[in-house]
């Protein structure tokens, strides 16, 4: 198992993905095992083959760790998902309520500065994303060690609801489908929130380990 292939590192993105799902106590062994096999395969069959193998391992490992992470604590994960769903319902409505309150209050101003109003409307999309990101962070913070399991579960629930709504809209107003695609950005932002919390936690644990 000795060759120049040792100098080659596995795909960084794949390593990051696995790190999002791996329990901290297993991380060292799993990454060590994968690197050992990756180096061997890279020297024996080439870097391209080894990288393909690493990505396949990443996909299968994530799927397995996701399932076992949920089975390890189904109730707390479900509670975090339901809590996150309710929080998302509450938080995602706030920007619109705020906008309509401001619009009603300063109607004369907005009438005189219509371009500014359009700009604010566009900015609301970003505010919605930030709200979803916040929800993702809160859910991930609540379930230590299963950040990605809880946020992905919540995202899948939201995607299913959006998908059902799209089917209904498609039968009544087909053009609305294109606009609705934007709604999938919310579940994506929730998962990103989970990944941020998880990455920060992993970094803090690694830092504590190495002094």
């Amino acid at each position: 198992m000795t060759s120049l292939a040792h100098l080659d590192q596995p795909p960084r993105l794949a390593v990051w993905f696995i790190n999002l799902f791996t329990a901290h106590e297993n991380a060292e062994s799993i990454f060590g095992d994968l690197l050992e096999e990756y180096s061997y395969l890279a020297s024996k069959s080439g870097v391209t083959f080894a990288r393909r193998w690493y990505w396949r391992q990443t996909g299968n490992t994530i799927a397995y760790l996701f399932g076992s992470g949920y089975r390890a604590a189904p109730w707390s994960t479900t509670a975090a998902t339901v809590g996150g769903f309710l929080l998302h319902r509450f938080v995602s409505g706030l920007p619109d309520k705020l906008l309509s309150a401001v619009t009603d209050r300063y109607l004369a101003f907005w009438s005189a500065h219509f371009n500014a109003y359009i700009w604010v409307l566009k900015a609301m999309m970003s505010v919605h994303l930030i709200a979803s990101l916040f929800v993702g962070c809160v859910v991930a913070w609540a379930v230590k060690g299963r950040e990605m399991v809880a946020t992905i579960t919540l995202a899948v629930v939201l995607c299913a609801l959006i998908g059902s709504a799209m089917v209904w809209v498609a039968t009544h107003w087909p053009l609305g489908i294109v606009w609705m695609l934007w709604l999938f950005a919310d579940p994506f932002a929730i998962v990103v929130g989970g990944a941020i919390v998880r990455t920060r936690r992993s970094a803090a644990i690694t830092q504590a380990k190495h002094g």
């Binding site: 040792h6 095992d33 391992q57 299968n60 076992s68």
Partner: protein
């Protein structure tokens, strides 16, 4: 009837792999042993998730080895089967034997 815990299919395979490998059993060798003998691709995540479950049940124990350069300075985690684990394998094997006794499963005998 006393409560008896049987091993699941993959748990059974993993414990048998640990028994075959004895003191050489860690993630890489366990994964390769299972792939070699069962001819099915196994992910390292599946191995560790199963080993964690078995360790929680007291069927296996683990210890950390020394860090090695080919692993980027990371340690190997070696596993071994406990007496309780051996008893669980025996129990599961007996259950399989008992269930298949007298059945014509169409095995090809060499």
């Amino acid at each position: 009837m006393p409560a008896r815990d049987y091993l699941g299919e993959f748990e059974h395979i993993v414990v048998l792999a640990l028994m075959r490998l004895a003191d050489r059993a860690y993630g890489v060798t366990v994964r390769q042993e299972i792939e070699f003998r069962t001819k099915r691709e196994v992910s390292i995540g599946a191995i560790y998730a199963t080993l964690d479950r078995l360790e929680a049940k007291g069927y296996v124990k683990s210890r950390l080895g020394d860090p090695t350069p080919e692993r980027g300075g990371r340690s190997k985690r070696f596993f071994h089967v406990t007496a309780k684990g051996v008893a669980a394998v025996t129990r599961t094997q007996r259950a399989f034997q008992s269930m298949s006794e007298g059945l014509d499963l169409g095995f090809v005998r060499s």
